[in-house]
Assembly symmetry: C2
Homo-oligomer: 130 residues x 2
Amino acid sequence: MTERKTIQCALVLETVKKLKRHVTADEVFEEIVKEYPNIGRGTVYRNLQRLSEKGEIRKIEVPKGADCYDHILQPHYHIRCTKCGEMFDVDMPYIKNLEENVKDFHGFSEVSYDIIFKGICPACRAKNKI
Amino acid sequence: MTERKTIQCALVLETVKKLKRHVTADEVFEEIVKEYPNIGRGTVYRNLQRLSEKGEIRKIEVPKGADCYDHILQPHYHIRCTKCGEMFDVDMPYIKNLEENVKDFHGFSEVSYDIIFKGICPACRAKNKI
DNA sequence: ATCGTTATTGAGATATAATATCATTAAAGA
DNA sequence: TCTTTAATGATATTATATCTCAATAACGAT
């Protein structure tokens, strides 16, 4: 049969849009569970995955951290503080031809990429004098 | 006191260099344990971490996959097949000024980055006709 | 509106990667 | 050789994500 609309899925999408930041599956779950206490963690994970596959939200795979989801759909880079773990958007144009090169050179298909810079954010620098 | 030389650490370094490919901690462990059966998994993890901090090997943090280590020290990009999971080197110059930009714009320190492209490798394309 | 099919859910189990704990071992300076 | 303590090995624990499966509910057909 066809794909079905559920309140759980709608809630997940709504929550990601509402929170307006980079949210992990657990953060989305914790937010929803306040109003809708019997939602399951697995359901949130599944719907985040589906919504990102449908292109309604953007999945960001974080190395050695929980994946997070972004309500902003335009591809853009991120930077993650290695001290506090917070993710920020990077104000830099997305380099589209990078992936084209790789495709041509190496015979891959469906090539995509993301960049997550690492560094110490201004707040943590101030706190630890670095 | 100071850092100590151990046969375990030497074995880990030697094994990464010997295998000449992108290896996970578990792969290094499995290789060493053949010849040196009482080495512990934790020891391998610890030494890989230390060696990468000392710059003797290179750590690659793989999103949603085991971290792997590279005997090639020069920074370079990678591409990972989403079907078989294999990692390949990408033949493309490392863009150094990218990280400088981010540092300047956003007030971060110790900025670094890696790119792990995703895609379907030629072998998997052939196998699945995509 | 009710029924039947089956996609989706919720609860819990399981998988995987990595780190933490801690008694024991062994490297290296005295 | 002795002493100090960094590092090890075994195990437990953490964190993230996926899988399993009976129960539920979405939706097309009647």
